[in-house]
Symmetry: C2
Subunit: 309 residues, 2 copies
């Protein structure tokens, strides 16, 4: 865990508490005065006490020292609100505003108030998100009239159609997880070197999107092509990523329809990767920094629910 300390007292703590990581910011209003990063994600925490302990360790430096006269508000989004998380924050159902009633969590720490934001679910076809809705809320806080398609790339990439300030529909692709498994644990691990070729990536996106039904055999073709023809450095990695993202773009074609520029919210390198994939299919993209957008969504929630603490 690392904590970056600044002078001053925090009013509140913004937390993005996911499956594998806890990331957060000590805030005075909308100003960041400190940052928190730890590996204490949901998967690393055995029970509710462990969540409370992890929270205490994360926010320790910003705990007020005035004997409880002033409380520190904590607003958290992500898997912390899942059934296997700290306390379940029930899903909102699409179509829905990306922000709903928070779940308040009782703790032994009498100097903090903790609120966990709900995720969003879709019944048909079934889909769920936790954390991404808060990023969408952050985007809408800056641009309340935004309508269109938002892409939130990650281990499980979300694609959400937004209109009238609401999430209307969304889908999740396991592309990031598939790429990791295939490139490190499948027979393709022998073919994937650390290099990267942008041109081959773009070509593979086009190929994957044009013939997504061939993906099951195209994947082994990467290995076979390397054995038979050799492969230049970066070819197989770029081809694997391109075929998978191309197939993903075909799978969400109905959400992409008629969208001039997709909003991509994510870590800059990953967002850029998806922007290039969309570009290969002639679709534009506007990038938003994932951490900033999360913070903006948590700030909007804090402003609305702060008075309830």
């Amino acid at each position: 865990m690392s904590q970056e300390l600044h002078d001053g007292f925090a009013d509140w703590i913004a937390l993005d508490w996911g499956t594998t990581h806890l990331r957060g910011w000590a805030m005075v209003g909308e100003t960041v005065i400190g940052e928190i990063r730890s590996e204490a994600g949901m998967n690393a925490l055995a029970d509710r006490d462990a969540f409370e302990q992890a929270l205490f360790e994360a926010i320790g430096p910003w705990v007020p020292i005035d004997d409880g006269a002033r409380k520190l508000s904590v607003v958290a989004c992500g898997m912390v609100g899942a059934r296997q998380g700290w306390r379940e924050a029930s899903y909102l159902r699409v179509p829905t505003a990306p922000r709903g009633e928070a779940r308040y969590v009782p703790t032994m720490l009498d100097f903090v108030d903790v609120a966990i934001l709900p995720g969003v679910a879709q019944d048909d076809p079934p889909d769920v998100m936790r954390g991404e809705e808060t990023q969408i809320a952050g985007l809408l806080a800056a641009e309340p009239d935004f309508e269109g398609l938002v892409c939130l790339p990650g281990t499980h990439t979300k694609w959400a159609r937004i209109a009238d300030g609401r999430i209307e529909a969304f889908r999740t692709a396991m592309t990031g997880e598939l790429f990791d498994l295939l490139s490190t644990r499948s027979v393709l691990r022998h073919s994937v070197d650390p290099y990267w070729d942008e041109g081959l990536f773009a070509a593979a996106v086009v190929e994957g999107a044009a013939a997504p039904e061939t993906l099951p055999v195209a994947l082994f073709g990467i290995r076979a092509g390397q054995l038979l023809e050799g492969a230049i450095a970066g070819e197989c990695r770029a081809r694997l990523s391109g075929l998978l993202i191309g197939a993903e773009l075909a799978a969400i074609a109905s959400l992409r329809e008629g969208v001039a520029a997709v909003r991509i919210i994510g870590a800059p390198a990953l967002a850029d990767h998806y922007a290039k994939a969309l570009g290969a299919l002639g679709q534009g993209a506007i990038l938003h920094d994932g951490a900033e957008t999360t913070r903006a969504g948590l700030l909007a929630a804090y402003r609305e629910i702060g008075r309830c603490f």
Copy 2:
């Protein structure tokens, strides 16, 4: 390693030497007098000496005790002939008979002659097989006039069009490996219980084959559906397998076209699984035992090349 011993001396040894396993039979002509099974597959063997040592351990009980007056012939197929195997046996190129010139391997063991059978490669689209061609040779030894489609299910399932005694074209799907990775290492591992529902499997095959382009989002839908709707025992496992095999059947649709009954060569349970998937799409299947068919292919090779030892 287990060796099942019988009376009598072996003329030759039939070996199916793959990535993770070594399986074989001590033979007198076409009669099996002993069986070999070990974990000494290619991946477990560090160098050429290790292959020789593994062979010696496997065939020890059948080594002639007549001071080299009589040699034991070993005929092997599979990954043992790969570049990372014992000795590379160059690929035959489609269209080709499934059997070609063997690679003879010099050993320190002066009482054995070792021949490794070549695999088969296809340049466009690139694809490779090692071991399955010998099973196809076994099928053709019994039915020289067979024409049609052969399915060889496994970690990497092969589909081969046969005509005029030759492999005309083939494709490989990584379905088995994808199922293993997704059900044990991805987020879906939380959803896949040990049970199985045949009806849901068949329905998922139909769905996967009808809309293979949705696979990237349908996979996460298994997890989301379980979270939102619960799932009956066996539902998620059957759905994951069905969607993947359905997508595979769509990917090789051009090979399947016009085929009344696909020949499936494999372990009985897995062969039956693919037969049910084909059945869900209204296509028939005729099953062949994988081990028997491998042995028949190795026997055909032994008969042809035995005189060259």
